[in-house]
Amino acid sequence: MQVIHDIEITTTSVLLDGKTIAVEQTGDKLLVELYRRYVGDYPKFFKMDTLSRLGFIAAELLLKSQEPMANSQQPTVDAVILANRSASIKNDTDYLATITEGNYYPSPALFVYTLPNIVTGEIAIWHHIQGETSFYILNSPEELKPIVASTLTAKHSTALVGWCECSKQDNFYAKMQLIWRN
């Protein structure tokens, strides 16, 4: 397995292939800053929950915002395989706030994001990936490695994989890679 590109996004920093990308904002506003700088023309971004925004931006930086590697074309992604520890708990909590007793107005716009795999769907739609999308709930990023290794066969040779976590407001972490099986 070879890592083509690697990204780490925290609430205060962005590291792409080991190099710092300077940012001014922190927390949820950091993701909006990155959206404005690198995407800008997909208003649906603002409907997404934080987990989806995080994975969407990380995927964008991995796939689009850099020079193609020497001697290789921009790869076609065959699979998006992400994982985290707390599923969609941040957005689940936001949805719960719309169904409190005595103030019951369930929000379909929030309910649609109460599944962790929605982020993989958002990435697939934007990059038109019709391969596999899978989401796992695990105790640590290490536990994703055997799953990815057993998924990447000849059919799925290039994949967007990694950890995409958002447990509460202004609290998220992504560590994702674009990899290929060689």
Partner: protein
């Protein structure tokens, strides 16, 4: 090769795979109108346990039931082996926590490995079986205990009502006048093994192929061209022809989009003449359990032959598996 060596379904229709198969054969349905189950929620038609269940004890009961069946083929304490992995398929887990219940189930059986939770919307139960096959084919484990479970809550029912996706009466999948889906509760377990000794010259179901594809064109409704489902079907049909397939277990939720999309995908794959089964009018949509409940009913109904189970779900994801027993 990956063999199914034990299984279990516990649902409002009965305790154990056989009880559930008999209930379906007798035409019994778990669906009924619930008017006061959850505060504020409008009346809804669903298949719910009479007594509210606790997530972990319910899953443990199902695993024990499946292990009882597996032990006749493989006289080992499969649950506790370091060669065994627990895989849980669920969308909402135990009150929104997905990993803690999986850890509790694995710990109950004394299993030393960190469990894997698959949360891929409605397709989770089929995806979890695909994950099991991959890990066993890669030789990382010898046995996989795959559990699917979701229990209905005020959270889920209110959300589906806000989507206006629920049918006010028992669902009518593929009918022109269908009005939506019904939710359901169930737990199901399928135990897979890559050990040849487990089949001991008996007819055995082999998990032959699995595939997952995204439509990549719409978040809340499956593709109108059935692209992801079509690709899953063509993947799992590799090496076989439509004449080899005895039954396709379709998703058939009873929503306008889903049933249209599946029809298109099946026709594009040339499988329109193969018999289909739809189980939502008996069990409702049991979410994380659906892919495993409906696989087990398919295998038990057929007895022998070749079975395809397909599912599609939120996030544009589709999945299919093919099993054969000769």
């Amino acid at each position: 090769m990956v063999y199914c060596i034990g299984h279990s379904i516990i649902s409002p229709l009965g305790e154990g795979s056989q009880a559930n198969v008999q209930a379906v054969r007798a035409g019994r349905s778990g669906l009924k109108l619930h008017t006061d189950r959850f505060a504020d929620v409008e009346p809804f038609c669903a298949s719910l346990f009479d007594t509210p269940q606790e997530f972990v004890p319910l899953c443990v009961r199902s695993v024990e039931d499946a292990l009882d069946m597996a032990v006749s083929r493989l006289p080992l304490a499969i649950g506790s082996l370091p060669e065994t992995i627990f895989i849980l398929s669920t969308t909402k887990g135990d009150n929104l926590d997905l990993l803690t219940p999986a850890q509790a189930i694995a710990r109950h059986f004394g299993n030393p490995n960190p469990p894997v939770v698959v949360s891929n919307a409605c397709t989770s139960g089929v995806c979890a079986q695909i994950t099991a096959k991959r890990l066993l084919d890669a030789g990382m484990y010898q046995h996989a205990i795959v559990i699917g479970c979701d229990l209905q809550t005020r959270f889920i029912v209110s959300g589906f009502q806000s989507f206006k996706a629920l049918s006010p009466e028992p669902c009518r999948p593929f009918s022109p006048d269908r009005q939506g889906l019904n939710l359901g509760e169930a737990v199901a377990t399928a135990i897979y093994s890559n050990q040849q000794s487990a089949i001991s010259n008996q007819p055995s179901w082999i998990l032959e192929a699995g595939s997952i594809h995204n439509d990549a064109n719409h978040l809340s409704a499956p593709s109108r061209t059935g692209e992801g489902a079509y690709r899953c079907l063509t993947d799992v049909m590799a090496g076989v022809t439509p004449a080899d397939i005895d039954l396709i277990g379709v998703h058939g939720t009873g929503t306008l989009y889903n049933d249209d999309m599946e029809t298109v995908a099946i026709e594009r794959a040339g499988l329109q003449d193969v018999p289909k089964s739809v189980l939502k009018p008996y069990f409702g949509h049991t979410m994380g359990a659906a892919g495993i409940v409906e696989t087990i009913i398919g295998l038990e109904t057929l007895g022998k032959g070749t079975f395809i189970k397909m599912l599609s779900g939120f996030g544009g994801v589709n999945a299919a598996i093919r099993l054969t027993c000769k």
